[in-house]
Symmetry: C2
Subunit: 432 residues, 2 copies
């Protein structure tokens, strides 16, 4: 008799197998009990009939199995036309492995703080299970996409020596006798990588000591930051939209069940696989907002209502291009068509999810960057290496950053990005 | 005319193309100059003949191109039987993009501190380039391997709330009004993940504030930590050796050029793809050491000379199984054959590289773990969640951790693991 997983059961119809499972729920009526089972690979139903097993086993199933009790179940795999999964197990024997009394998470509503306090257990529930599988798939698809497009995966350091003056959103680390800071972005390091390897991307945790409590902020989150040498913004935008469309298609192909479990229909995702995504200028965006009744004027950054309104006009992700310099980062080059602006773009997701990607060209002019570093209080000792990238064989280059959890929250229609990471870290949440 | 990369040039023989490149070296004699070029995707040679170009271009090539000058080169791709790569470009035109005067890294020997101070530029050299490509490939192959084996990628948090009492190797982080620590290992969190998702693995940075200055220590390094529910140690060892063999085979298949560039022959790797790897007990290892003239006795941990000697006896990675409890972690269960020992194994690489994997079963006994947490000063408030994994449906589970840079140093035959990460962090190294 083979020991298999729930996900493998379609291959074993009519065969007797053994599976290690946890109980998620049960109901019984007289001579039959229905056990809802999970094993990490999936969820299905076990049926135990009084006539098929000895009395001890039937009693055990009825009385000693509680929510999250773990046990080996032996039985025959059968088709189950009524369930989505399509298969079930007709139980012949049960061997309890781990008891479970008074499991704290019931099949009822719990407050979010209670659930987050029990995140180590909450992960076992259906929605978190599906969200974690989708997250994992997106990271794999990211690696596959960038590999196919000639990128090298390149890890930026998390411990960095220096911070821009006046930055308050950094976490300090005591580094022996020195002061270190946790990285907010791997971009500057990725630029060095691009000069060596052509096209690189980081995929790792980044940190912001923000006191924000919005649904789009965590103190620890994952970023994917590609950086491409010999590339201007127009080509970068094409890679960005291809990347997003690739991820969406990959999820449609591999995670249809999980998407459905979290309430996202595959049909609603399909339009996001169609390219190109619309592109409008920042100036046009301001006009559209004014026409839409917003009190926006040139120079403003966009808040959540503005981003939502803009993306709603297109029903697809939309690039907003070339923002005013004052609201963007120091390394962005001047827009040749309007020197108040820089060559950059944010990609706004539709459905109220706002910015998922921010990107730009990176100035490759040595004087420009030297001056900007100085203006921004970034000292030579710590940032001279970034200057060097312009001093020795500077080339046009572009890059972008995607917040993994922001992308995932959009795709999975979650209200808060904390649902899209195993153990979220926020202003008041460092445990478990 | 198409703009291509060096890696694409084999498809363009006889065609005139444009490539953005950096100069790595050049020599000229009279009417011909040989330019060594790189573009991030590869390295090849450009040949410029005085008769093929106008005088200005030939003079520019001879006098104005220096090491790391960046330029667009236009020319015809031709076969080049004398080079490993097999192709070159016959240059018709050059358009300089970025000057480079007095590039600090010459084609001569530099001290390691100088090179690490210039890591942002050193990455452009051949060996670091090859090492970074190999690293990237191993991370991709890791995701592919675990995906094929039913694992979900699962990120453990880097910011954690509590530390075992008396631990001195942690980096402290000021977390608003709380104290946090940078994670040394994602394992405990991965165990929670395995109870939800069956098989999970982390792949992320981990941190140790060790003052060690050995060739096997960095303060920031990447770990891959798989954790499998419903699994005993024997099956875990099989996954471990399959994983290592898969990585080695994948590199043979995809990175033969890079391996050769770092001095590792493909032939020397082939034996490591043959399974199973030998397994010996810790007791047997002590006997072998004693027979080999070492002053080892039961209870000792192994240092580098012992690990090197043991692995040398097999010429392959070797599992050392079931160490004394005192030198292993608190969560490992008692060895039923000798209660001084625990069920665990280290995988030692041959060729002097020592431990690359450490793994074990994890005790799934609630009383045992509760007692061990208490003995180790791990308080309920911070570690109660780990207890819960045994309280609610505990199951046999096993896991292991592989240090990415230790694995890579072995495969690429590097003296120090700092060569195998883009920007190494060590006791005296936090910059660039
Ligand atoms: Mg923004
Ligand atoms: Mg050891």
């Amino acid at each position: 008799m083979e020991t298999i997983t729930i996900s493998e059961s379609p291959k074993y119809v009519g065969e007797t197998v053994k599976i290690g499972v946890w109980l998620t729920d049960k109901r019984s009526s007289g001579k039959i009990a229905f056990l809802q089972l999970r094993d990490g690979t999936g969820f299905f139903q076990g049926i135990i009939r009084k006539n098929d097993v000895d009395e001890k086993t039937f009693d055990l199933a009825k009385h000693d199995l509680h929510q999250e009790t773990s046990f080996y179940v032996t039985g025959e795999i059968a088709e189950d036309k009524r369930s989505k999964f399509g298969y079930e197990i007709h139980i012949k024997d049960i061997e309890v492995v781990g008891a479970s009394e008074d499991y704290p998470i019931g099949n009822k509503e719990h407050g979010i703080d209670f659930l987050l306090d029990h995140r180590h257990l909450w992960l076992r529930s259906r929605k978190p299970w599906a969200l974690m599988r989708i997250r994992s798939r997106v990271k794999l698809a990211t690696m596959e996409f960038f590999d196919k497009h000639g990128f090298t995966q390149f890890d930026a350091p998390e411990l960095t020596a220096s911070a821009p003056e006046g930055t308050t959103e950094l976490f300090d680390v005591k580094y022996f006798d020195d002061d270190a800071y946790l990285s907010q972005s791997g971009q500057l390091y990725a630029e060095a990588g691009a000069m060596a390897l052509g096209r690189v991307y980081t995929m790792g945790p980044t940190f912001r000591a923000e006191k924000s409590k919005t649904r789009r902020h965590m103190t620890e989150f994952w970023m994917i930051e590609p950086e491409m040498a010999w590339m201007h913004q127009d080509e970068s935008l094409k890679i960005q939209e291809q990347y997003v469309a690739y991820l969406v298609q990959d999820l449609i192909d591999h995670c249809a069940t999980e998407l459905e479990m979290v309430g996202r229909s595959v049909d609603s995702l399909k339009p996001f696989t169609e390219l190109p995504y619309p592109r409008i200028t920042y100036k046009k965006a301001i006009e559209m907002l004014q026409e839409g009744g917003f009190d926006s004027k040139y120079g403003d950054d966009f808040g959540s209502p503005e981003e939502t309104y803009l993306a709603d006009q297109f029903k697809k992700p939309v690039f907003i291009m070339n923002y005013p310099r004052a609201i963007k980062a120091f390394y962005m080059p001047t827009d040749p068509e309007d020197d108040r602006q820089v060559i950059c773009a944010d990609l706004l997701a539709p459905e109220g999810y706002g910015e998922i990607i921010g990107g730009s060209e990176r100035s490759y002019d040595y004087e420009y960057i030297t001056n900007k570093l100085e203006e921004n209080g970034l000292n030579k000792e710590d940032y001279g290496w970034y200057d060097d990238l312009r001093k020795y064989g500077s080339v046009p280059h572009s890059g972008f950053g995607m917040g993994l959890e922001r992308f995932l929250a959009w795709i999975t229609l979650q209200d808060h990005i904390r649902e899209n990471i195993p153990f979220p870290r926020m202003l008041n949440r460092l445990r478990p």
